[in-house]
């Protein structure tokens, strides 16, 4: 539909989120993890970061020009998340290929941020692991996990991640950890999973959008992390979070559909 936007005067008074403001909030939330990754991995990480950002922005600009849509620059956040996820030893051309595929097929072909069905960063990381066999994603450190927390608080306060998803993923991981190896493994699970939980699984456009659906989505993502991880080995592999996020996103519309059916039935019962 065209011509369905707000009157200009109301558009200006709008104080809520705009796509550009969402991008800015996510960039601020990502600042600390990116800084930590730069400190930990040194100069090669700068090359990874620059390559990813430039590739993403070129694609977004190209699609913006072709489609005649205003830019939200959201792909910059895709690039930053990707740069944190991958190790600095990856060749530049592999980064270009993986980021291009991820950002184009995860996001831009659908019309950009908010129209796609998976998180662009998860798609890029997934493509990297799939295409270049033997590639391992970067493992997370305690400092990286801690650096994620301020961003998490910011995104929670802004309503850009859902606590329902985070809580249900966490519950599944804790239960699985306790069953498998007792309480001792929980800290390492938390360290590995927290970045992906905040920036991939909780991506608002890739997850379920109803409140009951978010709980189920979180549970599903948690179970998938455990499943992929058990297949991979003893420690939680970073790739498990990425693939859990991708697969859970594909189920999000189904989960939402069922949640809506449930809500509609409850409404019918209330209205008699």
């Amino acid at each position: 539909m065209t011509g369905w936007t707000l009157d200009p005067f109301r558009m200006r008074q709008r104080s809520g989120w705009t796509p550009a403001r969402v991008t800015v909030a996510q960039l601020i939330a990502l600042a600390a993890p990116v800084a930590v990754s730069l400190v930990e991995r040194g100069t090669p990480q700068i090359a990874v970061l620059l390559t990813a950002v430039v590739t993403c922005l070129i694609w977004e600009l190209a699609f913006g020009l072709i489609r005649g849509r205003p830019l939200s620059l959201h792909t910059a956040t895709v690039a930053l998340i990707f740069a944190v996820l991958v190790p600095a030893s990856i060749p530049v051309w592999q980064i270009v290929v993986a980021v291009s595929l991820g950002v184009v097929f995860g996001e831009l072909v659908f019309g950009g941020r908010g129209y796609g069905i998976v998180s662009g960063a998860a798609a890029a990381a997934g493509f990297l692991v799939f295409f270049f066999t033997g590639t391992e994603l970067a493992s997370s450190s305690e400092i990286m996990a801690l650096a994620t927390l301020p961003g998490l608080v910011l995104l929670l306060a802004g309503g850009l991640v859902s606590w329902r998803i985070l809580v249900s993923v966490t519950v599944v991981l804790i239960i699985a950890g306790l069953i498998q190896d007792g309480a001792s493994s929980l800290p390492s699970v938390a360290i590995t999973a927290v970045f992906g939980m905040v920036f991939l699984i909780s991506d608002p456009v890739a997850g379920a959008t109803t409140n009951p659906g978010r709980v189920v989505f979180g549970l599903l993502a948690g179970v998938l992390i455990v499943l992929f991880d058990t297949a991979a080995g003893p420690v939680v592999a970073p790739a498990a979070v990425v693939f859990a996020s991708l697969l859970a996103s594909l189920f999000a519309p189904l989960i939402d559909h069922m949640a809506v059916a449930l809500i509609v039935r409850r409404r019918r019962a209330r209205h008699g």
């Binding site: 369905w4 707000l6 849509r69 939200s72 941020r113 908010g114 802004g158 859902s162």
Partner: protein
């Protein structure tokens, strides 16, 4: 004031049959046109004067009917006082007070023979900066209770008098007239919220809503036979010289009303006159039938509009299409109907009437989704989308 207008924007879906022509002399309370579908529903002139212009919109709807005031020497005779339920109904229909009611679902003027399950009187300031009903009703005397008793004859159910906490304005009006109190919170001033809490509606259950100023006017009509179309409106906004309540008439020409009331803008920016509130109003030259506030804002100066060309223009251009909907928690807070917000907004934005109705759009009218439009990242006008869907559902019903 020299001009008032009856506006098609207030009467969605109405096709008028005109009973007057351009240049005709009309008296206060005299019929100007009636609803083509329901000839009993009459729209009257709120003032005496001369019909200045009549503009029709698409599909033979009314765009605006402007009346130039020419004060009549003799006031219209007070009509006889109505007492029985049928007389009251006839009086309200014939004297042009029927359009004060709006049905829920659909937000339309009710059919002349319809009997609602309940009537909701909205006695709350429906928006920030709207007039305080307790102040407005203070000098109305007994007109408001009389109006409540009169409209109670139109329904077999309850008349819910929804008000802010305080003394019960509906006390002692009979047991079918019940006061309900809504502490001030988001959306507590909207009839949609009141109805959702007290008497949820769907295709088969219909209630009416009405504003308190109309109830007081009905009380005056029934008690004394005098037509009073005056309206107390709040003048507010950053460009208002002296924010205050003013007594005017629904449909008054806003340019005349605010001529002495505006502050100069920063950097000479032009004035934006909004009938209604910031979230829910419309930029207009006339005060809307259901509006009780006038908001004066800064408009963007034409010279500061950004050029659309070049690479930098791509970053700054505003799209004519809505931007993507990003499901933030703010959306959940902005819509208080217990509906799954994001699926609901998606249904509205693709015009999926069936899904929207399943999810509860029949409980809402435009004003209820205004807060969501302001909170959503898309910048879409969900009010307009909702009206589109409601019109489609009303045609099927």
């Amino acid at each position: 004031m020299t001009q008032v207008a009856l506006l098609g924007a207030d009467l969605p879906g109405l096709r008028p049959k005109l009973l007057c022509a351009q240049g005709d002399r009309v008296g206060r309370g005299l019929a100007l046109f009636h609803d083509r579908a329901n000839p009993e529903v009459v729209f009257v002139s709120p003032v005496s004067g001369v019909v200045d212009t009549i503009t029709l919109g698409p599909r033979r709807s009314l765009s605006a009917l402007v009346i130039r005031l020419e004060p009549d020497q003799h006031e219209p005779d007070p009509t006889s006082v109505a007492t029985s339920p049928d007389e009251i109904r006839e009086t309200l229909l014939a004297k042009g007070f029927w359009p004060a009611f709006l049905t829920r679902p659909y937000g339309r003027i009710p059919a002349p023979d319809a009997v609602p399950e309940a009537i909701f009187v909205n006695v709350t300031p429906d928006n920030p900066h709207a007039p305080d009903p307790r102040v407005v009703l203070r000098d109305q005397g007994d007109a408001f209770p009389a109006g409540l008793k009169a409209i109670a004859h139109l329904t077999s159910g309850t008349v819910h008098v929804c008000q802010t906490p305080g003394t019960d304005l509906a006390a002692g009006c009979g047991d079918r007239i019940r006061g309900s109190f809504f502490p001030e919170s988001q959306a507590s001033g909207l009839s949609g919220t009141h109805i959702h809490r007290l008497h949820p509606v769907d295709q088969n259950r219909s209630v009416w809503s009405i504003g308190y100023q109309d109830v007081a006017a009905i009380g005056k009509l029934i008690e004394t036979g005098i037509h009073d179309f005056s309206r107390i409106a709040a003048l507010a906004g950053p460009r208002a010289r002296q924010p205050r309540l003013i007594r005017t008439i629904a449909g008054a020409n806003l340019q005349e009303l605010i001529r002495e009331e505006t502050l100069p803008g920063n950097h000479g920016s032009p004035l934006c006159v909004v009938s209604g509130s910031l979230t829910n109003g419309r930029q207009a030259s006339w005060l809307g039938r259901y509006h009780q506030q006038i908001t004066l804002l800064d408009d963007v100066a034409p010279q500061s509009r950004i050029s659309k060309g070049g690479l930098m223009g791509l970053f700054r251009r505003t799209s004519s299409q809505p931007a993507p909907l990003i499901p933030t928690a703010a959306l959940e807070w902005a819509l208080a109907f217990g509906v799954p917000v994001v699926p609901f907004l998606r249904a509205l934005s693709v015009g999926d009437a069936e899904t929207a109705s399943r999810l509860g759009c029949l409980e809402m009218v435009e004003e209820d989704v205004a807060a969501v439009s302001m909170a959503c990242s898309s910048g879409a006008d969900y009010g307009r989308m909702l009206r589109h869907v409601l019109d489609e559902l009303a045609e099927d019903a």
